[in-house]
Symmetry: C2
Subunit: 80 residues, 2 copies
């Protein structure tokens, strides 16, 4: 099964990369852009046929390795 | 409208960050994990009421700034 884990900074945590991108949009003439936040996406293959097991494993992997839960939130999607 | 742009390395482009994460999963005991790929997610607010205009603008922004089209692919989702 293919899993996608999306990791974003929590609300209220300063996102300098997002701020820089927002500023670049202004310079490029995209004047109607509000807040920009940047996160990361981890796509991986898990060798299991059970969707729920795949989702549970994705959550475990996010907690143990992919996300820093002090400053980041994550979401797990099972794609297929 | 909220837009999400997902930028991933193209297939065939070496992803050392993904490889490192895959190795870390093995060390942590997740032995059933196949290929791992890492990308980035950019969430942003666009001040327009038209879904199609928002999607078109998201694509323009990805082409001009967010993605390096030589090595990366992108996908635009309009969230609301």
């Amino acid at each position: 099964m293919k899993i996608r884990v999306n990791v974003m900074l929590k609300e209220g945590v300063l996102d300098p990369q997002g701020k820089a991108i927002g500023h670049a949009f202004e310079v490029l003439g995209f004047s109607n852009v509000g807040e920009v936040r940047v996160g990361k996406t981890i796509e991986l293959e898990v060798d299991t046929a059970d969707r729920e097991a795949a989702a549970a494993q994705g959550e475990a992997m996010a907690r143990e390795l992919l996300a820093n839960l002090v400053i980041e939130d994550f979401a797990v999607e099972v794609a297929e």
